[in-house]
């Protein structure tokens, strides 16, 4: 686990991140958490099976755990809407985070989505508003927030549950503003340029650590890149360490650091034109 594989190309990582045998949120919850109670619905419109969450015990500590959920067979994939949440999914996630805040419990989120669902009904119910509202409101939460990108980090649909104090990322996960296919179609006007787009977008864990977006990379086995049995231990080790370090800070300290963390992201020039 110590020697991370930097030989894999970005487009290969995209393939690994999307692989149907990768650990999904409910697999991780089953392996890392106890007493999980899945809670449902946004109290506004519906329950969204593409985004799951609930209460659980983590190393003896009560927490709220939330994540995107994909399906493995045809029926489950359709049921989970390929892991693409609608506004009700994001509103449910925020509701659960606010409950965590009320009881002063940490929140752990797992990201694995191609993106927020692009559909007429999602637009009608305010997909953009649901994401934006989460970005603002989650940043106000006092409880510790940990996010782990485990598969596909698909743009705003990923970020909407990804405001955090510490961002972890699996070695073979990706996190991007747009899919390589979408980027190739727009900028190169050619779907055959996806591999090039994937490399230019700097969407791997290593790239994003360099850009200051990712705090910790969770190494994966180089033999079995898809469903490595040690992967759960590796996630557990890093999430737990992050949680302990965040619990060592006061609510006020964490909030200051969280705002500073977001405020400094990005690179710009101060020189004018």
């Amino acid at each position: 686990m110590e020697t991370m594989n930097t030989e894999i190309t970005p487009i290969e990582r995209v393939g690994l991140a999307r692989h149907p045998q990768r650990p999904y949120t409910l697999d991780i919850i089953k392996n890392l958490f106890e007493d999980f109670v899945e809670l449902h619905g946004d109290r506004r419109y519906a329950d969204d099976p593409a985004l799951v969450g609930g209460t659980a015990t983590y190393h003896g500590l009560p927490v709220v755990v939330i994540g995107h959920q994909k399906g493995r067979d045809v029926n489950e994939r359709r049921y989970r809407n390929f892991g693409m949440p609608k506004p009700e999914g994001y509103r449910k996630a925020l509701r659960l985070m606010m409950m965590a805040d009320k009881f002063n419990r940490p929140v752990i989120t797992f990201i694995d989505t191609p993106g927020a669902y692009p559909g007429v009904d999602a637009e009608e119910r305010g997909q953009a508003e649901a994401i934006a509202f989460n970005l603002r409101e989650i940043s106000k939460i006092k409880a510790p927030l940990i996010t782990c990108v485990v598969g596909e980090g698909g743009s705003g649909g990923a970020l909407a549950i990804g405001i955090c104090d510490g961002l972890l990322m699996l070695e073979n996960a990706v996190y991007s503003v747009i899919s390589p296919e979408g980027c190739a179609a727009i900028l190169w006007k050619s779907p055959t340029q996806s591999a090039l787009a994937a490399s230019r977008l700097k969407l791997t864990a290593f790239d994003l650590e360099g850009l200051g977006v990712v705090d910790v990379i969770i190494g994966e086995s180089s033999e079995n890149r898809v469903n490595d049995s040690e992967i759960y231990q590796a996630i557990d080790k890093q999430v737990h360490a992050m949680l302990l370090s965040l619990l060592g800070l006061s609510d006020a300290e964490r909030r200051v650091l969280r705002f500073q963390r977001m405020r400094r992201l990005g690179e710009w020039s101060q020189s004018g034109i």
């Binding site: 934006a132 970020l159 690179e267 020039s269």
Partner: protein
């Protein structure tokens, strides 16, 4: 060097898309109703067709001039511009695209920040410009929005944004995405400072800009018939494989679905904003009236 550079009223500029037409001759043809419009009259009419009320796209500086009292404002943060954090090259290197955008738009970045008075209230405004790389939000745009929010908190002013954007700037990858978090975190602090944020949505506002600051104003105002949405219409059509409703993702569609407070003609926009700021901004006048009322109350002890 002064901190702020002074900008005078500037109603001359028009978006690049229409520039070629408008600078040739004295007439502009309305793309909606084909009426020939006097260029001068169109400018005096806030770039709105007097025949069919079609709203022409506006450049960022004209937008700010229309907002502020006497059209006067100080431009802020002009020195904050995009760099190339990823070394991004598609069919052209990103720095070349930036150069081209600066040339075409005549602007340093896809948003222009201003500071001035609106109805006598201190307002920090950011106006996006679609002619600068589709008004896309990269690190510099995010930083500029974060700075007007910071200043509004420091000087107890209001924030007003005019969105005009195709979304996040792909050439800055995940750093663009993170600007959504950055500006929304700033707005969380503005909330806690009890200061106003009015978001004006103009044609077009989509993607990562819609899914961040633009959709969470205390009050959200849309210009008539603007394209506003999260996912692009083509992406949705490909996903659902059917034709989209006629007025889908227009201002009026959002209004019907409860996503905006008001759809307002540009010619009435400033008056409406002043009306709202009178409600939102801390006012000595209101405090005095409350004191007078308190004195007028009968003693209930």
């Amino acid at each position: 060097m002064s901190l702020f550079s002074r900008k005078k009223k500037n109603l001359e500029a028009v978006p690049a898309a229409e520039r070629r037409v408008t600078t040739e001759g004295i007439f502009v043809k309305c793309p909606k109703c084909s009426t020939a419009l006097f260029k001068r009259e169109l400018e005096e009419n806030f770039q709105v067709c007097h025949s069919c009320a079609h709203h022409f796209r506006l450049d960022a500086r004209s937008r700010l001039a229309m907002l502020y009292d006497e059209g006067e404002y100080e431009e802020l943060d002009a020195e904050v511009i995009s760099c190339d954090p990823l070394g991004f090259v598609d069919t052209k290197p990103y720095p070349e695209r930036l150069e081209q955008a600066r040339r075409v738009s005549g602007l340093p970045e896809a948003i222009i920040n201003g500071r001035g008075q609106v109805g006598g209230h201190l307002v920090f405004a950011g106006a996006m410009d679609f002619s600068f790389m589709g008004g896309s939000m990269g690190s510099a745009v995010g930083e500029k929005i974060a700075r007007i929010i910071d200043r509004a908190i420091e000087y107890r002013g209001a924030v007003i944004t005019f969105a005009a954007s195709g979304g996040a700037r792909m050439q800055e990858g995940t750093l663009s995405l993170m600007q959504m978090a950055k500006v929304c975190a700033g707005l969380a602090q503005l909330d806690e400072a009890k200061l106003p944020f009015i978001s004006v949505l103009t044609d077009p506002t989509t993607g990562g800009v819609t899914a961040s600051f633009a959709s969470i104003g205390d009050v959200i105002i849309a210009e008539p018939k603007a394209l506003i949405g999260f996912a692009g219409p083509r992406v949705i059509e490909q996903t659902i494989r059917e034709k989209l409703p006629e007025d889908f993702q227009t201002s009026e569609f959002l209004m019907a679905h409860g996503m905006v407070d008001l759809v307002i003609d540009r010619r009435e926009l400033r008056a409406m904003i002043i009306n709202l700021l009178n409600f939102m901004m801390p006012s000595e006048n209101i405090l005095r009236l409350l004191d007078e009322d308190k004195e007028a109350l009968p003693d209930t002890q």
